[in-house]
């Protein structure tokens, strides 16, 4: 009797198992017809016949409107017979959604992402098509900035179409405050430290930094490291020819700790959250004088309060006198979203056409109006905002532009970098320890890759 119950149980379980397993192997059965504007069946590489599924992170205005504009333009003007369906997903969950879909082999036909480590991973795994031919034949080839194209290039092939935003890291400051204390934009690191000391004496926190998000502190570190040693040590370390324990990295870490001890950052810097707005809050309350971050902050300030934005000035990270590194080097990204393609033939052509629409004059004008800097040549002539003009100028004059470490590095190394650096800020790790951990992650990565 007992056997029988057991058998029954086993049977029902087995039935369910096979059902589910079979279901998983079964591939697409395709649900909706995708006729509506935000179609039903999508996400799969084979998708609907004439439907191109486009994943992106445009959930909030103005990003949402930029993408909608481009997609609508394509849908109404195209002669390819294809329709693009945009699927926006919020940034924080977007990467995970992509991984889930890709691991089931159901990558969307085109998707927008950051360039750097994760993008290379997608391409290496077969979810990106080279678009050299289409790109070379297209007018966007001459339109886009070279540095933007180079960020879209991997293993000598162009894989993506950059759009949206040039973001250079630099220092935003409160002009009124600088006037009040008779401060000038600094030329050297020593000048910057003098400014900090003056602000500090007047009970103002020099830098508004919220480092619970980790990448925010990395902004300071990357700039310091680049000013101490240029980009060569970094590039060598990534290639496995150098080490992340190079002098410039250690010096940058030590400088960070020196600044922490001097009180240049807010109290409890590692507990403040960038996402919750705790850095910009210090700027708005005028208890902090400067903020080092990506130039997208122009848009943030302007949408929060146009009035406050009037008070804001900007300068690139100053040079270090005793270092011979090129001070024109910028840390940032030339375009903060790149469209990658996962389809072939006619569909790829159509998808590429839709990507081109993101760089259409009309769309570019709209972006500029909303404080964005599309990565196209001659954009400075369109800009009216003085800060964004300065940013573009700095980017154009830069001998080299290094992408954010946490985007550029293989994700595991990036995590090691961010975790270690946060502890450097918290004074619970020495720069040496943090860099050794980062180097170890890099070694592991290279060893795995070599296998």
């Amino acid at each position: 009797m007992k056997k029988r119950v057991a058998k029954l149980m086993a049977l029902s379980m087995a039935a369910a198992m096979t059902a589910s397993l079979a279901a998983c192997g079964g591939g697409d059965s395709g649900s909706g017809d995708g006729g509506s504007s935000s179609g039903g069946d999508s996400g799969s590489a084979s998708g609907g016949d004439k439907e191109i599924v486009y994943w992106n992170i445009g959930t909030e205005s103005p990003d949402k409107d930029v993408i909608t504009k481009a997609v609508e333009k394509f849908n109404s003007e195209t002669e390819s017979g294809y329709t693009v369906t945009s699927v926006p997903t919020q940034n924080d969950t977007y990467k995970e959604k992509l991984v889930v879909a890709m691991s089931s082999g159901e990558c969307p036909d085109m998707y927008s992402c950051w360039s750097g480590g994760p993008m290379y991973e997608y391409i290496d795994s077969g979810f990106g098509q080279p678009i050299d031919d289409l790109f070379n034949a297209s007018e966007i080839k001459d339109k886009l900035m070279e540095s933007a194209v180079s960020q879209a290039t991997y293993n000598d092939h162009v894989y993506a179409v950059p759009y949206q935003n040039i973001s250079m890291s630099g220092i935003f400051y409160n002009k009124e405050m600088f006037d009040k204390y008779k401060l000038k934009e600094p030329e050297t690191l020593a000048d910057l430290e003098n400014i900090c000391d003056t602000l500090k004496k007047n009970d103002i926190t020099p830098f508004a930094l919220a480092n619970s998000s980790k990448w925010t502190g990395s902004m300071y570190y990357m700039n310091l490291a680049a000013r101490y040693g240029g980009l060569e040590p970094f590039q060598k370390a990534v290639a496995g020819e150098g080490k992340f324990t190079d002098d410039c990295f250690i010096k940058a870490g030590e400088k960070v700790q020196e600044w922490v001890e001097a009180g240049y950052f807010p109290d409890g810097v590692n507990s403040l959250s960038e996402d919750d707005g705790q850095a910009k809050q210090l700027m708005y309350q005028e208890t902090a004088g400067m903020l080092l971050c990506g130039s997208w902050y122009t848009g943030t300030f302007a949408t929060d309060s146009a009035e406050f934005y009037e008070k804001i000035g900007w300068f690139p990270f100053p040079a270090i006198e005793e270092s011979d590194a090129d001070p024109s080097i910028m840390i940032g990204t030339v375009g903060d979203q790149f469209i990658v393609f996962n389809c072939e033939g006619e569909k790829l052509e159509a998808a590429f056409e839709c990507a081109e629409k993101h760089l259409d004059e009309e769309v570019i004008d709209f972006e500029v109006e909303n404080g964005k800097i599309p990565p196209v040549q001659g954009i400075e002539s369109k800009l009216t905002d003085s800060i964004t003009k300065e940013v573009v100028e700095a980017a154009n004059n830069a001998s080299e532009i290094q992408l954010w470490y946490d985007q550029y590095l293989p994700p595991a190394v990036a995590t090691a970098h961010l975790d270690g650096l946060q502890e450097v800020f918290g004074l619970t790790k020495t720069p040496q320890e943090a860099q050794e951990a980062m180097q170890k992650a890099m070694d592991d990565y290279l060893a795995n890759k070599a296998e």
Partner: protein, 282 residues
Amino acid sequence: MDQYKKNKQKSIICWVFAFALAIFYLIVSFMPFIFMVLNSFKEKFEMLTKGVFNLPDSLNFANYTEVLTGGFSKYFMNSVIVLTISLLLLLFIAACASYPLARFKFKLANPIYAGIVACMSIPVHITLIPVFKMSRATGLYDSIWALIGPYIAFAVPISVFILTSFMKEIPREIEESAEIDGCGKIQMFFSVILPLAKPGLATLAIYNGVNMWNEFSFAYTLTQSSENRTLPLAIWEFQGQYSMNTPMIMAVLTLTLLPMIVMFIIFQDKLVKGMTAGAVKG
């Protein structure tokens, strides 16, 4: 008489003390909610300059109007549908499973019970990929129906665990007397055990209801078009790549929370009362 007085005095002191603590805890529980509501009336810049814990300048309903004129009602309906179906099915299935585990004597009872406890230990994120594959394969992907399966399944282990422990507490005598009246096992479940398990079921309804209502991971992996999203995704419209509009999000979250308070009041009151009456009769 003296003893009585003393007791009375002691009792009053105890109550006063208990009330003081209770009120303290009331404040601790309530404050964050209050501030959530207060911040939902502010403007973004106002919130950041004047601080999160300040009163809003004015009772400005603009945030609410914007939220309500957006996709909120669609999300709301989706959430209600998913919640109702999942919860009803869950309660029935969990009750069914708990009944034999709590009341029958058979050798497999303990291993099965242990197996269900083990099922509680599964980390939800690791199931995202298999569940995604299944929902693609069954064609349920990007519809609210895709959510029901996982919502029930991942609530089942804990529910069976709780309900079994509740059903075990029901006195044997009640069952025995019904058995003498010729009540079969299945009938016993519906007419005796199920009504007596109401407080347990109410607990489950409340707990799982809240979880399903706020569930996030499956909601965004298994749906993609905006008309199939549930409430927890409604905040997306105010969360950008670099910043978020917190007061707006607080408005969304306040509106999301209110129906749950109403649900709690209804469930809690009705079921606990019904139960006490039943127990007295028994």
